[in-house]
């Protein structure tokens, strides 16, 4: 199945994400060039919000200075608490609800958005202590948040999003136009 002589193997079998999730994308959030998000939708309808590989934070060796979940005076995503099976108490988010603000060492600031409608279940506190996780493993351990769409909206929640193929077309077009990010 796998060439055991290779030092680091490129696994031929599907990964955890391949097995359980569908990748969806939202590009140029709020008109800002290249601020792309990747939404991992589980077969049970739960969505994990992550940075797409083309996001500026992940380019040019940038380092993270600060991650802030306090998105306004009255609202901190860290205070989000859900209880019970129906996840009562979780903050309800719409597509452009901010999740957090990330400041890099070069003083550039970026806001990460929900991208979908749903109840916020949790934000990733591990990246507060170890921001490098976000840079090294943006699709797994460096995730931003977990959101639970309404049951009735399970399918429709991804209607405004791009598939992997459509996302790759966007990237191709950008390369052709040589847009810096």
């Amino acid at each position: 199945m796998v060439d055991a002589d290779m030092e680091d193997s490129e696994k031929k079998a599907p990964s955890v994400i391949d097995r359980y999730f569908t990748r969806w994308y939202k590009t140029d959030l709020k008109g800002k060039a290249c601020e792309d998000h990747c939404i991992l939708q589980h077969s049970n309808r739960i969505c994990v919000i992550t940075l797409a590989e083309s996001h500026p934070i992940l380019q040019n060796g940038r380092k993270i200075k600060n991650i802030n979940y306090q998105i306004s005076d009255g609202c901190s995503r860290l205070k989000n608490k859900v209880s019970g099976k129906s996840k009562r108490g979780g903050q309800f988010l719409t597509e452009f609800a901010p999740l957090c603000r990330i400041t890099c060492t070069d003083e550039k600031e970026y806001t990460i958005f929900s991208c979908i409608r749903g109840r916020l279940l949790e934000v990733n506190e591990a990246i507060l202590n170890k921001p490098d996780l976000l840079l090294e493993k943006p699709s797994t351990e460096g995730y931003i948040a977990v959101i639970l769409p309404k049951f009735e909206e399970s399918k429709s929640v991804t209607e405004g999003l791009l598939t992997r193929e459509q996302y790759e077309e966007v990237l191709t077009k950008r390369n052709q136009q040589e847009e810096p990010c």
Partner: protein
């Protein structure tokens, strides 16, 4: 004339409608006059019918029914009662309570038959004691009838009801004594013994086998045993027979869910462990339905090896309750022959209380697993010698839609590895019950800490998982 009272009316009505013979009706009305039982059947029947037709005032507390009928002319009511009662009698002539002992056998003809048989023996005696032996199932039917009648008359004690044996003796002993020219007394060297058997209804006692006898090793339904069992059994258990069959199952398929997989009314995958095991049980025990419970469960793509996982099927209203060891073994074989995807062992009938044992201590029990691991880094000799490793698992994303969000502290008791190649090895682990193995391996977005990726400092994934053992020693093993 029978000395029946107002309060007896609903009892008489209820029993006649149920098809009871007239002498059983008298017994449940506590008629203690021996001469009453010597009257002819037709005579008694006529008087009872007349009794229930006498309607002075509405009997029942049920307002809705009575309001209408009290307006109806009395004659109409009388006819309705007679019809329903006589209909019940002709549907099945045999009394469901005494099975006919207090019907034809109380006629003078039978007493003559008995006397003739005794005379043939040519013994000389001037006194005799009459003993009667009745089949054990009469006790069951009596108990059942008493529960039925108790609803009309709350304070009717079981001891107040006249016993079948006494009623029978009152009916026949006079005639027998007369025919044989001897006095029927309490003590005499001459004993005339009449034994009744009714093979057709012997199975009546069998449900007691499971409800009560299982705790005592009793397989013969002597009358004494049945009477004692009836004393012990609660009314609820007597009225609704429910018991459980338990066993341990192996699952050899990676495409079989434990319970039926249905989403939005659509079946996602054919078959299930539950259906493969319950179907033969349902038909053998002729039950109306079942409930299935198990000590934990595994995913569709996980095999269950070793001794298997304990589980129980609760059978609702089984029409057949008695199975001997050989029949249970045969049933186990039938299930095993029906599919190569599962196998069951230690199949046995258990008391209802025992099924809770399966669930108890679920947190403390341990399970052992075997997992096929892939690592991104090339590893020559996987080094995972940990004992009692504490891990914290947030509710895995794959079940988070139906479970509360929480952090679970779990123990991985031990781990050993078997090298396969630079990127694969078999991991054997023994963990506390309730540990999510798959998430321990790949980390679930870092939400299980520490995970195998952390411990081995490489990306890792789980390709296959088998349950090697579920460490609960219940149900008890049945040697082959």
């Amino acid at each position: 004339m029978l000395s029946l009272k107002e309060k007896d009316r609903p009892i008489v009505r209820k029993l006649l409608c149920a098809g009871c013979c007239v002498r059983c009706v008298l017994r449940f009305c506590c008629v203690g006059t021996s001469s009453a039982y010597r009257r002819s059947y037709q005579d008694l029947h006529k008087e009872l019918l007349a009794f229930i037709s006498e309607e002075n005032s509405p009997q029942s507390h049920d307002a809705s029914g009575e309001e209408k009928s009290s307006d109806a002319p009395p004659n109409k009511r009388m006819r309705i009662d007679e019809d329903s009662v006589t209909a019940a009698q002709t549907d099945s002539d045999i009394c469901p309570v005494c099975l006919g002992v207090l019907q034809d056998f109380c006629d003078p003809g039978f007493a003559e038959q008995v006397s003739d048989a005794v005379k043939k023996q040519q013994y000389e005696f001037d006194s005799l004691v009459l003993t009667v032996s009745l089949p054990a199932q009469l006790s069951v039917r009596e108990h059942s009838c008493w529960l039925h009648v108790k609803k009309e008359s709350m304070c009717l004690g079981k001891d107040d009801v006249i016993q079948v044996k006494d009623a029978f003796k009152w009916a026949v002993q006079g005639k027998i004594g007369q025919e044989l020219g001897a006095a029927v007394v309490a003590n005499s060297p001459c004993e005339v013994s009449i034994s009744f058997i009714h093979p057709e209804t012997e199975e009546d006692c069998h449900f007691l086998y499971v409800a009560v006898f299982l705790s005592v090793s009793q397989s013969v339904f002597t009358r004494m045993a049945v009477v004692k069992a009836l004393e012990k059994i609660s009314e609820e258990k007597f009225s609704r027979c429910v018991f459980s069959v338990s066993c341990r199952y192996n699952k050899f398929s990676r495409e079989l869910p434990q319970t039926p997989w249905v989403i939005d009314g659509e079946r996602r995958m054919d078959g299930s462990v539950e259906e493969l095991i319950a179907a033969p049980l349902l038909s053998s025990f002729r039950a109306d339905g079942f409930n299935f419970s198990s000590s934990g469960r595994e995913d569709v793509d996980v095999r269950t090896l070793g001794n298997g996982r304990p589980f129980a099927v609760e059978l609702l209203n089984p029409h057949r309750a008695k199975f001997n060891r050989a029949e249970i073994k045969q049933l186990q074989e039938t299930i095993n022959q029906s599919s190569d995807k599962i196998r069951v062992r230690d199949l046995q009938i258990v008391t209802r209380d025992a099924t809770s044992r399966m669930k108890e201590g679920e947190e403390e029990k341990t399970k052992t697993y075997s997992a096929l691991i892939w690592t991104q880094k090339a590893i020559e000799s996987p080094d995972l010698e940990f004992l009692d490793l504490r891990i914290a698992q947030k509710t895995p994303l794959r079940v988070l839609h139906r479970r509360p969000l929480a952090v679970r502290q779990r123990l991985v008791h031990s781990m050993t590895t078997i090298y396969l190649d630079k990127h694969h090895f078999t991991l054997k682990l023994c963990t506390q019950a309730g540990t999510y193995i798959k998430e321990f391996v790949h980390g679930d977005f870092g939400r299980t800490k520490p995970n195998l990726c952390d411990l081995m400092k490489t990306d890792a994934d789980i390709l296959e998982l088998d349950v090697e053992s579920v460490d609960i020693d219940w149900p008890p093993a049945i040697p082959d």
